[in-house]
């Protein structure tokens, strides 16, 4: 029997994958729904397994209307050949994403037969201290953006005694928590979503390993409401994991008790900041907490809490299974292992690229991504989400790694690269960065709450003025105050996109200033 594979990933669904799967089934074909391989410009990407050796060949951009009479043929124009030999995939080094796009995400047997649970089994054979040692040795750092060493965070939580919920008169039991931050709000990032939709058991396995390592009994996934498909897949996976004994009492026959629940966000970007996330998980307004106390010591409901990004936790099973040394051998400086890069925006071949740290932005965008989707010249790339810097076209040789980017006044963030062509007006992007901060600031600290509002006003002044130097100086002062005085990265990093736009693309601000001044005076340009 021929088996066909059609993604159920939200990106594939957004361009008709459900219709394609239905059309194949109408033809009497057997269809397995998978995650996406991450070659998003080819979605819906349909694959067929060779009945002899299981090798999978694929077709790109399949339309349901092409399948009214027969299944895709090897002679079709959109035939891709062996999927894993495509250059975009062949050059990748997949650790976190090793199963995504290959397996049925909610089939535990498929998970097991593709190496799933090997990491947790290995971890349960080790003492908690040895697991933490492995994570530390791997050099794994937080993939949410801050890049804090994961092993040190886990060690801190492991050293704390579990405590009862603060101020909870009903539940006197002592707890520690593993909280997964799946509030992936940065524009240009979708790796958390695709992992949760494509290999949810991997995240649960990583959480169980963390629980064993630090002695936590409870897990929570804070998942944003904008990801309904991910919520559905994760929820189904949790049910199935409980049925298998992968969660609950005595995981895999060990003495480890650990269960996971999902809490859904409510549309607040700043809740991706870890302390705001804790507030939201506790059912309150998602405002930022001052640190200390560190969440590792006093986190969710006052208990010692590991807070890690989805990709951080999902890295752990393969690190345990394949060895910390092999992971640490990848990358450069203190950026070890692999990073899941996300190519987004105006790019010809957008998608997921998991490779070792150190690849240049240029190689990612022009080598793999093949430049802009519009075919126009590239003007800027925003790296690391809405709080990340804009790099100019001639600044893309920088290696994608924590230290190298920091040296350029930029940051890796969650690994997203958003490409803009020459139609973009960078003064508009700078203004948007401030507007976004106005919209999403939690309001707790003044530099962010008031600063963002003033930021929009000052940029407007700058653009309308015929003597913009004063306004520019004011804007730079304001950015300094926001950077130095804000409580968290929301206000603290909003100046990054603003100042990088101003520094790298000053002509856009002048042009806009002239245009606006002319408009005031009634001058008409051709």
């Amino acid at each position: 029997m021929t088996v066909w594979f059609v993604p159920r990933d939200a990106a594939a669904l957004s361009v008709g994958a459900d219709d394609v799967a239905a059309a194949l089934e109408t033809l009497g074909e057997q269809v397995v729904r998978t995650g996406s391989r991450g070659l998003l410009w080819l979605e819906p990407l349909v694959e067929r397994a060779d009945s002899r050796n299981g090798t999978r060949v694929g077709w790109g951009n399949v339309r349901a209307s092409d399948l009214s009479e027969s299944a895709p043929a090897d002679t079709a124009n959109n035939f891709l050949g062996v999927v894993e030999e495509l250059d975009y995939l062949a050059c990748q080094n997949r650790w976190i994403y090793e199963r995504v796009g290959i397996i049925d995400p909610v089939d535990p047997d498929d998970y097991l037969s593709h190496g799933g649970m090997a990491g947790l089994q290995r971890a349960l054979e080790l003492s908690p201290a040895s697991v933490i040692e492995q994570v530390t040795e791997s050099g794994l750092r937080g993939r949410g953006g801050a890049g804090f060493p994961t092993g040190i965070k886990w060690q801190t939580v492991a050293e704390q005694a579990p405590v009862p919920h603060k101020g909870d008169p009903v539940d006197a039991a002592r707890h520690k928590y593993i909280c997964v931050n799946a509030d992936e709000g940065d524009s240009g990032t979708f790796a958390d979503r695709m992992l949760m939709e494509g290999d949810p058991f991997c995240l649960l396995e990583g959480m169980a390993i963390a629980a064993h390592a630090v002695g936590a009994d409870r897990g929570m996934i804070y998942l944003r409401s904008e990801y309904p498909a991910a919520i559905a897949v994760m929820s189904e996976a949790i049910e199935k994991a409980r049925d298998r004994g992968w969660l609950g009492q005595g995981i895999l026959g060990s003495s480890c008790n650990f269960d996971v629940t999902i809490r859904v966000g409510a549309g607040s970007y700043v809740c991706g900041e870890e302390t705001a996330m804790l507030e939201s998980l506790e059912g309150r307004r998602g405002t930022v907490r001052a640190k200390p106390p560190l969440p590792a010591i006093e986190g969710l409901f006052g208990t010692p809490t590991v807070i890690n990004n989805v990709l951080t936790i999902a890295s752990v099973p393969s690190i345990l299974a394949r060895g910390a040394e092999a992971y640490a051998a990848l990358g450069q400086e203190r950026s070890r292992g692999t990073q899941v890069f996300q190519l987004a925006g105006n790019i010809a071949r957008g998608g997921i690229v998991e490779v070792a740290f150190g690849i240049s932005a240029h190689e990612l965008i022009f080598g793999l991504g093949q430049g802009t989707k519009s075919g126009r010249p590239l003007k800027a790339v925003q790296v690391g989400g809405p709080l990340g810097a804009y790099l100019p076209a001639d600044g893309l040789q920088v290696p994608m790694a924590y230290e190298a980017l920091a040296a350029q006044g930029a940051m890796l963030g969650h690994g997203g690269l958003v490409v803009f062509d020459d139609a973009v007006d960078m003064s508009e992007q700078a203004r948007f960065a401030m507007e976004f901060c106005v919209e999403e600031s939690c309001g707790k600290c003044t530099p962010c709450r008031i600063g963002a509002v003033r930021g929009v006003e000052v940029i407007d002044e700058l653009l309308a003025s015929d003597a913009p130097e004063t306004a520019e100086q004011l804007l730079r002062d304001l950015c300094d105050v926001m950077t130095q005085g804000s409580l968290c990265a929301m206000g603290g990093l909003t100046p990054q996109p603003v100042l990088s736009a101003l520094d790298q693309f000053p002509e856009d601000f002048k042009r806009a200033a002239h245009r606006n001044a002319d408009a005031v005076q009634g001058v008409v340009h051709e």
Partner: protein, 164 residues
Amino acid sequence: MESPIKTTEQMATLKGLIAPIADREPGPVLLCLQAAQAHYGYVPEGAVAVIAEVCNVTRADVHGVFSYYSDLKKTPPPAISVRLCAAEACQAVGGRALAAAWGEACAADANLATATGTDEPVFCLGNCALGPAALVNNQLIGNASVDTLKSAVEAAQNAAEASL
């Protein structure tokens, strides 16, 4: 607009809905608001007081949470919700122009405007390589255009009629 939480029975309905949450979950206020919204389509007047009572917190506490989160609504939603992504990755592929064109399409077509109500932008739907992205009810749309949005709205309307 008549709130569906006025009579004692109506209050009891909401209590029945949220009391199990408050009993089971630590920090239940946001969960209760979300449960109320899932049931009514929005958080009706009167719900805040009931949630405050069940969770044993002040109305001000509940109102503070309610007013903080942009997902939580004070009024019933439109028949079809259309949310265009307003974030950078979609801006890079004409998101602003699409939003303007969609606004014009709605202005020109009263039926469309009534069905979809006021469009609320959303910051990032996680479909950043296939932008502009939009969410029509719970259906994610990639490479969105006014035409694909219109057909998605139509499909959602047909689905709603079929389920009646």
